[in-house]
């Protein structure tokens, strides 16, 4: 994720004041995030690197942010924008779930994220993948890039995702087991972090099913190894 990613439209109005910290022109989001449905739930994964310009300012950031007990979102792009969207939607879901007196649907969470992303699409540069489990439709993954709302069997995002498009297309199978999809996510993250300079650190994995959410952190030396000569 980039601290201080600035959209080209806000640069026009910059006037006298230049933000001090690594204000860069609009660039691709710098992260790797992935979410996959399996039989009975979803698995989300992310790397942990946050950069400002050329230096890494946080090497252990957990980009999987809880929106509700069994709904998480993966953050990518501008750190400030993504964090703010996640916190606003967390609050809105809280209110919503109190009003309906029940756990919210994943589709509601994704719609709230999509509404903010679409309304402020010129000003924001963040992409959130929303995934979770609810009673009506089980495990679901929604991509909300640029204000689009699209339900998918799996979704990848961030600058590192470009390097693993082929891998996920070839390796994804419907109805994997819980174990298999966790391995799939960790493999995908490792490959992306190995090739993308703006992804790295540790891998965070969150598995959500009907029993709740389980968070796990895979340290750098525990990641699987691939061909590396």
């Amino acid at each position: 994720m980039r601290e201080g990613a600035v959209n080209r439209y806000t640069l026009k109005n910059a006037g006298l004041f230049q933000p001090n910290f690594g204000a860069k022109k609009w660039t691709n989001p710098s992260t790797t995030i992935i979410a996959v449905t399996f039989d009975g739930g979803v698995v989300l994964g992310s790397d942990s690197r946050v950069s400002a310009g050329e230096s890494v300012v946080n090497r252990v950031m957990n980009k999987l942010s809880p929106l509700h007990d069994q709904i998480y979102c993966a953050l990518s792009g501008s750190a400030a924008d993504a964090q703010t969207i996640a916190e606003i939607v967390n609050y809105q879901l809280d209110v919503h779930s109190i009003e309906v007196e029940d756990d919210p649907l994943v589709c509601s969470a994704a719609t709230l994220v999509k509404n903010i992303s679409y309304k402020y699409k010129e000003e924001l540069s963040a992409h959130l993948i929303v995934a979770g489990w609810d009673r009506k439709k089980g495990g679901q993954v929604y991509a909300t890039l640029n204000g689009l709302l699209s339900r998918q069997p799996f979704a990848i995002g961030g600058s590192g995702s470009f390097y693993i498009n082929g891998f996920v297309d070839a390796e994804y199978r419907k109805n994997m087991t819980r174990r298999e999809s966790q391995e799939f996510v960790v493999n995908a993250l490792t490959l992306a972090m190995g090739r993308d300079d703006s992804s790295g650190g540790v891998a965070y994995v969150v598995t959500i099913d009907k029993d709740g959410a389980e968070e796990k952190c895979v340290l750098g030396n525990e990641l699987p190894t691939f061909f590396d000569e």
Binding site: M1, E3, G4, A5, V6, T10, N13, G15, L16, F17, P19, N20, F21, A23, V50, A52, S55, V57, N58, V60, M61, S78, A79, A80, D81, A82, Q83, T84, E123
Partner: protein, 286 residues
């Protein structure tokens, strides 16, 4: 969500009304050959560390205006509440005013709740304000404190993102300070060890970064106690000028004592001169 706040933020984001005017003014000033005044930045090293009983915040004390040192001993550790302090890097006015606004709102909030304020509350208030101004308020902050949930440390960036970490550095000297932290940080350090670590990190920033310098300020926050050590370490003492020669006070006396330079040989040659002509020219004192 209603809170009692002194300042009512106007709804609808940043007001761009004055940007056009500012751009015109700048163009006019440049045409006349002057340059508009530069915002005073605190090219800085600030850092913080969580140790066993609380947090230690550290900062250097140099404030720069372009390439000139504007203030050799400015205070960069700002009070937010009795148990929460905040170091500020970036534009000096922005960090000063932002921390004062949030400190004031936090006091009202704490009177309203009847409790000691939490670090997470200050963090939320700061990040929401900075995000609203989309990075135009150049304040990069290190926020630390101890509350009922324990010691906490946050770094807050000008665009409004925050990170909650056990050790953070900010400012132009942040890379030098982070190098020291990454080498020597351990969880659950003792107070003396933590103070030494922070002091060394700020010293690394002071000696290796042009925008940081002068002294090292520390602030140790524990449950129920705050030690504001200003200065903790005078790393750059000003030299003493030689201004008392032979008992007479003389400033800027550049005479050297007899014997400073060793005399090897001495040859005296008298010149025999005849006075040929002598004339006097009077000075016009009318």
């Amino acid at each position: 969500m209603a809170t009692v706040s002194v300042r009512q933020y106007h709804r609808g984001g940043f007001s761009f009304e004055n940007c056009k005017r500012n751009a015109l003014l700048e163009a006019d000033i440049n045409k006349l050959g002057f340059s508009s005044p530069a915002a005073r930045k605190t090219g800085t090293t600030i850092c913080g560390v969580v140790y066993k009983d609380g947090v230690v915040l550290g900062a250097d004390t140099r404030a720069t205006e372009g390439m000139v040192v504007a203030d050799k001993n400015c205070s960069k550790i700002h009070y937010i509440s009795p148990n929460v302090y905040c170091c500020g890097a970036g534009t000096a006015a922005d960090t000063e005013m932002t921390t004062q606004i949030i400190s004031s709102n936090l006091e009202l909030h704490s009177l309203s709740t009847g409790r000691l304020p939490r670090v997470a509350t200050a963090n939320r208030m700061l990040k929401q304000m900075l995000f609203r101004y989309q990075g135009y308020i150049g304040a990069a902050l290190v926020l630390g404190g101890v509350d009922s949930t324990g010691p906490q440390l946050y770094s807050i960036y000008p665009h409004g993102s925050t990170d909650k970490l056990p050790y953070v550095t900010m400012g132009s000297g942040s890379l030098a300070a982070m190098a020291v932290f990454e080498d020597r940080y351990k969880p659950n350090m003792e107070e003396e060890e933590a103070k030494r670590l922070v002091r060394d990190a700020i010293a690394a920033g002071i000696f290796n970064d042009l925008g940081s310098g002068s002294n090292i300020d520390l602030c140790v926050i524990t449950k129920g106690k705050v030690d504001y050590l200003r200065p903790h370490d005078v790393a750059n003492k000003k030299g003493v000028r030689e201004d008392k020669i032979n008992g007479r006070p003389e400033t800027g006396n550049y005479r050297y004592k007899h014997g400073t330079t060793g005399v090897l040989t001495k040859a005296v040659t008298p010149l025999n001169l005849e006075v040929v002509e002598e004339s006097v020219q009077t000075m016009d004192t009318s």
